[in-house]
């Protein structure tokens, strides 16, 4: 009986902790409004998409992209995650090539953008947060070809 009670208590605590952490995570819905730049570079190095998209409070990166483009996704049932394989006509197979994501965050001086800090995305599309003025660049990269 003691074991059963302990098991239930720990299980509920952990589920609650998970819900709380996900709720506080900055990698979900945006709490501000703004614009992001979206660029897609195909395998030949040509920029085939170069748009500026608005986002609103409560939007996620995935929602903003999904509203404008046709996204090709691969779901990983075992880990509950998904990977972005393609945007409109630019589609990768996630085996021989993939979309390399870089995030360009604006560096402002007196409100003006003077430069961008460039970072490689450390997570998939659901782990990226929206920031006003940022540019997200998707580059088709062949496996073994290194960073573009």
């Amino acid at each position: 009986m003691k074991k059963m009670v302990l098991s239930v208590v720990v299980l509920l605590t952990m589920v609650g902790a998970y819900a709380l952490i996900v709720g506080f995570s900055p990698y979900g819905e945006s709490d501000v409004e703004g614009h992001i730049g979206v660029r897609v570079v195909d395998a030949s190095g040509q920029t085939v998409i170069d748009d500026t998209l608005p986002f609103h409070e409560g939007d996620t990166m995935f929602e903003v992209l999904n509203q404008r483009y046709e996204l090709t996704l691969k779901t990983f049932a075992s880990v509950g995650g998904r990977a972005l394989l393609g945007i409109d006509d630019v589609v990768t197979d996630f085996v021989s090539d993939f979309l390399y994501i870089t995030l360009h965050y604006p560096v402002r001086e007196n409100g003006e953008i003077i430069d961008y800090d460039v970072e490689t995305a450390m997570s998939g599309i659901d782990g990226l947060s929206l920031r006003d003025g940022m540019i997200i660049v998707f580059t088709v990269t062949t496996v073994g070809g290194g960073s573009p």
Partner: protein, 177 residues
């Protein structure tokens, strides 16, 4: 160390490795923590260290994951179990105490990798990595807690009985409580 004991340790290492591969389809759900805790309760410190070293080397060879970012934290994390068992836990056989240790270990295992991943991903990725890893840490923590709480005692009693009967002729023994 006699041959029988050596074979027993080798078999325990095999069980440890095979169960993890068999459960690979469910992320972070495994009996590895439970088995290492049971082995730490049964075997001498140097023996459990040998089991862990062989297990980590085998796992990395099989998964092709020998890398400064993965292999050292695995050694550190798994070796923490026998070290803590023989020090802070004072060789306890209480499944409740060990289950709570397993719960903590689920998180600790993930945290040990963070400094090593910082070398690869940069310091800026700390919070991102920490937050994205938490669901997997929670799965491992719950898995550890439940398996130790419900299975540890049975497994320990069965294996220690086998060990006692196996070693009695040779003058070896295990600590019994």
């Amino acid at each position: 160390m006699n041959v029988k004991r050596l074979i027993l340790i080798a078999m325990c290492t095999t069980v440890l490795f095979v169960q993890e591969q068999a459960l690979m389809i469910i992320p972070n759900v495994q009996f590895t923590t439970l088995l290492i805790v049971v082995y730490a309760s049964l075997f001498r410190f140097r023996e459990i260290v040998a089991i862990i070293v062989v297990y980590v080397l085998l796992d990395n060879m099989f998964m092709s994951s020998f890398h400064p970012v993965y292999t050292p934290p695995m050694f550190i994390a798994w070796l923490t179990i026998p070290v803590v068992y023989h020090t802070l836990l004072r060789k306890t056989k209480s499944e409740t105490k060990l289950a709570f240790f397993g719960l903590f270990f689920g998180f600790y295992y993930g945290w040990v990798f963070i400094p090593f991943r910082m070398f690869e991903m940069g310091v800026g990725s700390f919070w991102n990595y920490l937050l994205l890893d938490i669901p997997f840490q929670i799965i491992m923590a719950v898995s550890n807690f439940l398996t130790i709480l419900w299975i540890y005692r049975t497994l320990y009693d069965t294996l220690s009985n086998e060990l006692v009967s196996l070693e009695s002729e040779n003058g070896y023994g295990v600590e019994r409580t």
